[in-house]
C-alpha cells in the first residue's frame, strides 16, 4: 500500500503546478491549437471574466509560457496571445504526466 502511495506521489510530483491549474492548461491548449488567439476568444472558450483571464495570462507570461501582443486593428484594440516554445513543451509534458498518472492508477486497480 505504501509502495502504491509512493508511486502515485512520484507521478503527481511530475505535474507542473504552474500549468496544472485547469484554466492555465486550457489557455495553453487553445493557444497551442489556435496559433495566435484573441483575448475575447479565450474568454469565451473558457467562460472567464476579463480580470480573471488577465491574471492567469500575467502568470503564464511571467513564466515565459505565452507571448502577449497588444495592438490595434482599425480603431479596435486587440490583445493577441500566442505560444512560446517553453509553453508548448510545458503543455506536452503536463498532458504526458496526466496520461501516465491515469495509466498507472488504472494499472494498480486492475
Amino acid at each position: 500500500m505504501s509502495d502504491t502511495r509512493h508511486d502515485v506521489a512520484e507521478f503527481t510530483s511530475s505535474l507542473n503546478d504552474l500549468v496544472h491549474q485547469r484554466t492555465r492548461l486550457g489557455i495553453l491548449t487553445i493557444v497551442q491549437e489556435g496559433g495566435k488567439v484573441d483575448f475575447g476568444y479565450l474568454q469565451d472558450a473558457l467562460g472567464l471574466t476579463g480580470g480573471n483571464l488577465s491574471q492567469h495570462l500575467t502568470v503564464l507570461q511571467a513564466a515565459g509560457l505565452v507571448h502577449i501582443d497588444k495592438g490595434y486593428e482599425g480603431k479596435r484594440a486587440r490583445t493577441w496571445v500566442s505560444k512560446t516554445k517553453a509553453g508548448s513543451r510545458a503543455l506536452r509534458d503536463e498532458v504526458s504526466a496526466l496520461k501516465a498518472l491515469v495509466a498507472h492508477i488504472e494499472g494498480i486497480g486492475s
Binding site: 486550457g26 487553445i30 491549437e33 484573441d38 469565451d44 498518472l101
Partner: protein, 261 residues
C-alpha cells in the same frame, strides 16, 4: 484517494481534448474554398464544349486506336467565331478558356484570402491568408512562363512545355487545397486532399476514352489529351467534399455546444 486522482486527471484530459476540438472546429473553414473551387471547375465544363454548329461539315475528327490522337480533316477550315469557341483549336484549350482559368483562379484565391481574414477577425483566431494568393499567383506565373518560351502566349495551351495535358488549372487547385490544409489542421482535409490529388492525377493521366473505355460525348473533346470529364469528375468530388466538410463541421459544433464548449 487514487480513484479521486484518476477522476480528476481524466476530467482534465477530457477538458483539454474538448478545447482542442473546439479550436479545430472553429478553424474549419475549408468548405467555402471547396465550394468556390468546385464552382470554378464545373462552370468551366461547358467551355470545353466545341459547338457542333460552328464546325463546317467538311471537318471530321476521329480518334486513332487507344491513343488520344484526334485527327481532323478540314481542321484548317475551323471558324474562330463565337465567344466560347474563339481561339479554340482541336489541339489547345484556347485563349478564352485560358483567360477564364487565370481570372477565375486569381479571383477565387482573393475571395478565399478575404474569407479567412473576415472569419479570423470575427472569431479571434488569427489565420494566415496570403499563402493561397501567393501560391496561386506564383503557379500561374510559372505556367505562363513555361508555356511561352519564345513569345507571350496564354498558359495552359497544348504547346505548353509543362502539364500539357490540359489539366494545369486542376493541378493549381490541388496545390491550393494542400496550402489550405495547414490552417485547417484536420485529418479530413488531408484525406480529402489525397483523394483529390489522386482524381486529378487519374483524369489527366488516363482520359475517359482509355480509362473507362468510353469515347466521350460527341463534340466534348477539345484537346487530344483532354475530355470534358477531366473537369466534371474533380468538380463533382469538390462539391461532395464541400457538402461533407460543411455537414461534419456543423455536427462537431453542435456536439461541442451540447457539452458546454
Amino acid at each position: 484517494m487514487t480513484n479521486l486522482l484518476t477522476l480528476e486527471a481524466e476530467d482534465v484530459l477530457s477538458s483539454v481534448d474538448a478545447l482542442r476540438r473546439r479550436v479545430r472546429s472553429d478553424r474549419n473553414l475549408h468548405w467555402l474554398p471547396l465550394a468556390l473551387f468546385s464552382t470554378l471547375t464545373l462552370v468551366s465544363a461547358p467551355l470545353y464544349y466545341r459547338w457542333q454548329w460552328s464546325i463546317p461539315q467538311a471537318v471530321s475528327c476521329y480518334r486513332s486506336g487507344g491513343h488520344y490522337v484526334v485527327t481532323c480533316a478540314g481542321y484548317d477550315r475551323l471558324p474562330a467565331s463565337g465567344i466560347l469557341t474563339q481561339g479554340f483549336t482541336l489541339n489547345s484549350l484556347g485563349t478564352w478558356l485560358s483567360f477564364y482559368w487565370i481570372a477565375g483562379l486569381i479571383m477565387v484565391s482573393l475571395v478565399i484570402a478575404q474569407w479567412y481574414r473576415t472569419r479570423s477577425n470575427r472569431m479571434g483566431l488569427r489565420m494566415h491568408r496570403w499563402p493561397i494568393v501567393v501560391t496561386t499567383m506564383s503557379l500561374l506565373a510559372i505556367a505562363w512562363i513555361k508555356s511561352s518560351p519564345g513569345d507571350i502566349r496564354p498558359p495552359f495551351s497544348a504547346s505548353s512545355h509543362v502539364w500539357d495535358a490540359g489539366a494545369t488549372p486542376l493541378w493549381i487547385v490541388v496545390i491550393g487545397l494542400w496550402i489550405l490544409v495547414w490552417p485547417e489542421r484536420s485529418i479530413t482535409s488531408v484525406v480529402f486532399g489525397v483523394g483529390f490529388s489522386a482524381i486529378v492525377w487519374g483524369v489527366s493521366e488516363y482520359p475517359a476514352a482509355g480509362f473507362l473505355r468510353w469515347d466521350g460525348l460527341g463534340g466534348w473533346v477539345t484537346n487530344s489529351n483532354f475530355d470534358v470529364y477531366t473537369v466534371v469528375l474533380p468538380g463533382i468530388y469538390l462539391v461532395l467534399g464541400a457538402l461533407f466538410v460543411s455537414a461534419r463541421c456543423h455536427d462537431q459544433r453542435r456536439r461541442l455546444r451540447q457539452r458546454g464548449y
